[in-house]
Symmetry: C2
Subunit: 411 residues, 2 copies
């Protein structure tokens, strides 16, 4: 089944003042996580695991690099494609970790990974177009596609005892003459799915066959729990002239969620177009933030390694505890930093989110916030310290043991 | 004459790789200022007056407010509509200077005034729509309209011995069934045009009659050289339920061009839609930058006053010197911080930009970068210190006196 409906109802569509807003913008969905956050955020002792961020502030060496140049007066307009020093630092980083030939002209600094997605989608999609997105998925990709006037087309993952997997037949069947792009997030939020090299080759072949763009969201690429420095990437299978746009962010690896800085990687021949799209949406990123980003790339590897090791421990602490109850449907994810699991007898995950706030003092996000295929699941972010996650495990296990409705897992 | 063509030719349209980019994005124009900037930026002793920014870095009290909270760890995701403290500070500022009832729910923090324009246009325009823009104009508004898939429709200002004026007949004649919005910048870049209260009433009446949005770009409102604290504003003539979206920026008043922070002012009933558009394009503005912005609003009035006084002196220094030569067509602008003037016998302003770099060591922007009506004009930014502008005057006067082609002004 191919589904294109967005998960939430539009706000205030009957208001005559608001009706003068374009339809595809007026009906953009509100984040489905906000509801439970608003419900729970002020509870004493609440442990909030609903958002996609850790609990560690940005390391001091990054903040200091930014503050030094801010105080030195680097407060003027800067390069629309990003500081040459930062583009070079990104090229070095990508060469080290992904084996990409170090060409700074491939990299464009953006005001968040979200803006990289916005720019990528603006290039490839508009009114009348379709963008294919495997789901459940981080909802912002579909919403950003809708914002261009295009129609997001969700294609559910297959789900079984091994967890989530791409359903290549469904993907191929979803392609229509209006399809312009496939948006693939791997490792994936919220499912923890990690595409294999064979998956990537198959998606690339499909895109080549139909002349589609691929928007590759590999922002969790380093958060990989297999036997390698990183997850498989389109960089491993692509040719130079493939139509692939990579979106990236400083948010996760370097604990910079609040900074709003990322990058877009694209064929250098798109350079002027991307520069124009940045110019006409935000006109660049503060140079002083970019100095912090240079420090992150050049001096941050020990921090990244510790972040990943911590996430792996966090995954095991909570997943082992929950699996031990026999009351959850949970496959340990091979990547990203989320558990995405079902609780037997608890199909209504929207109300389950409120219940867990009230009865376990733990904040999780309902799977329904992530589109078709998310029904029956809860998302838990494990990018936190061991002690706090041990406490989370105690609270959830205790609640599961008290919960009369939870029986054997239904898989 | 109504003109809708954008000023520059599209880049690399024949490249088969690039042809897979959506037409309205592939053909976005490159900034027409960049060419002369690239030509001149490395000349020793060059005085660059081509960009729309001054020469003073952000004041220390603003930088310190930002750095303090950055070091304190305020580096996590934040409110999509902006920090409550900043929205309240904007409301106080707007109440003080514009008499707007202080309601923080009217204000939405954006990652630049440019992003405020992007969000405003995304709400009101898309494929098949038209947006009316008096011209010459700062080119980013038209390009941002085109980016949505809409068609920017330029309506030239009238020009005469008193300078630039809105041509209300032409404006009314430009409205078609496809028109969705009028974008009005006052005080205006590059012309220095300032709308009178009667102008604003007439534009508002036109918009009401046809059910159009107004996007009001009043970012230079405080840079006004009449006998008032600020230029006339749509705030002076509107009713609460008028469809007006105000775009604003911290860039000019507080010397924060490089920060990329501004705000959108809109009816609170648009709140959820605007929050969604921010969420799905950049997902907010760094909280530490917002702390700097609070300091700017609450403690920056003396700095703003000095900036405006300095700009007024700068305007007089250069304008008086140039007018004294009898070889320029220049009306002293009542607002903003640009001179927009013609030089007799020098119609080809693109090549004149290069000539002035070579022969006067001064960098000006060609009027052709600002759309129809800009032909024959050069733009000079006078937001700089007296001594430097006196030197600019000497260089330009000396060049004009040497210039064999410059005769009497042609007005």
């Amino acid at each position: 089944m191919t589904v294109s409906a967005l998960p939430l109802v539009p706000p205030a569509a009957e208001d005559p003042y608001v009706e003068r807003v374009r339809d595809h913008v007026r009906t953009l969905p509100e984040s489905g996580i906000v509801e439970v956050m608003n419900y729970g955020r002020s509870r004493p002792g609440m442990i909030p695991l609903w958002a996609g961020e850790g609990d560690i502030p940005t390391p001091a060496f990054i903040c200091e690099a930014a503050a030094a140049t801010l105080h030195a007066g680097e407060t003027f307009y800067t390069w629309q494609r990003g500081l040459p020093e930062l583009r070079a630092a990104i090229a070095r980083y990508m060469a080290r970790h992904y084996g990409v030939a170090p060409d700074p002209e491939r990299y464009f600094v953006t005001g968040s990974g979200m803006q990289a997605i916005h720019v990528a989608l603006a290039m490839v999609a508009g009114a009348g177009d379709e963008v294919i997105i495997p789901s459940p998925a981080w909802p912002n990709a579909a919403a950003a596609a809708q914002k261009t006037g295009a129609r997001p087309v969700y294609v559910p993952f297959a789900y079984g005892p091994q967890g989530f997997a791409l359903d290549h037949e469904r993907l191929a069947a979803a392609v229509t003459p209006a399809t312009r792009a496939i948006f693939l997030n791997t490792p994936a939020n919220p499912t923890g799915f990690v595409a294999t090299l064979d998956d990537l080759k198959a998606v690339l072949a499909l895109a080549r066959r139909h002349g589609l763009w691929i928007i590759a969201d590999e922002i969790y690429g380093r958060f990989y729990y297999g036997h390698a420095d990183r997850a498989p990437s389109f960089h491993d299978v692509m040719e130079a002239d493939d139509h692939i746009l990579f979106v990236q962010t400083f948010s996760k690896n370097w604990a910079m969620t609040g900074w709003r800085i990322g990058w877009l990687e694209a064929h250098p021949r798109l350079g002027q177009i991307i520069e124009n799209l940045i110019q006409y949406s935000t006109s660049g990123v503060a140079a002083f933030m970019q100095r912090g980003a240079v420090a992150a790339l050049d001096e941050g590897e020990a921090f990244v390694a510790e972040q990943i090791a911590r996430a792996r421990r966090g995954r095991d602490i909570v997943a082992d505890a929950l699996i031990g109850t026999g009351k959850v449907d949970l496959v340990k994810p091979p990547g990203a930093f989320y558990l995405f699991f079902g609780i037997a007898g608890r199909e209504d995950v929207r109300s389950l989110g409120f219940t867990l706030v009230d009865e376990a003092n733990v904040g999780l996000a309902p799977g329904t916030a992530f589109g078709p295929g998310g029904e029956g699941f809860m998302r838990l972010c494990f990018a936190r310290g061991d002690a706090q996650l041990a406490e989370v495990s105690r609270r959830l296990v205790s609640w599961l043991e008290r919960d009369g409705t939870a029986g054997a897992p239904t898989a």
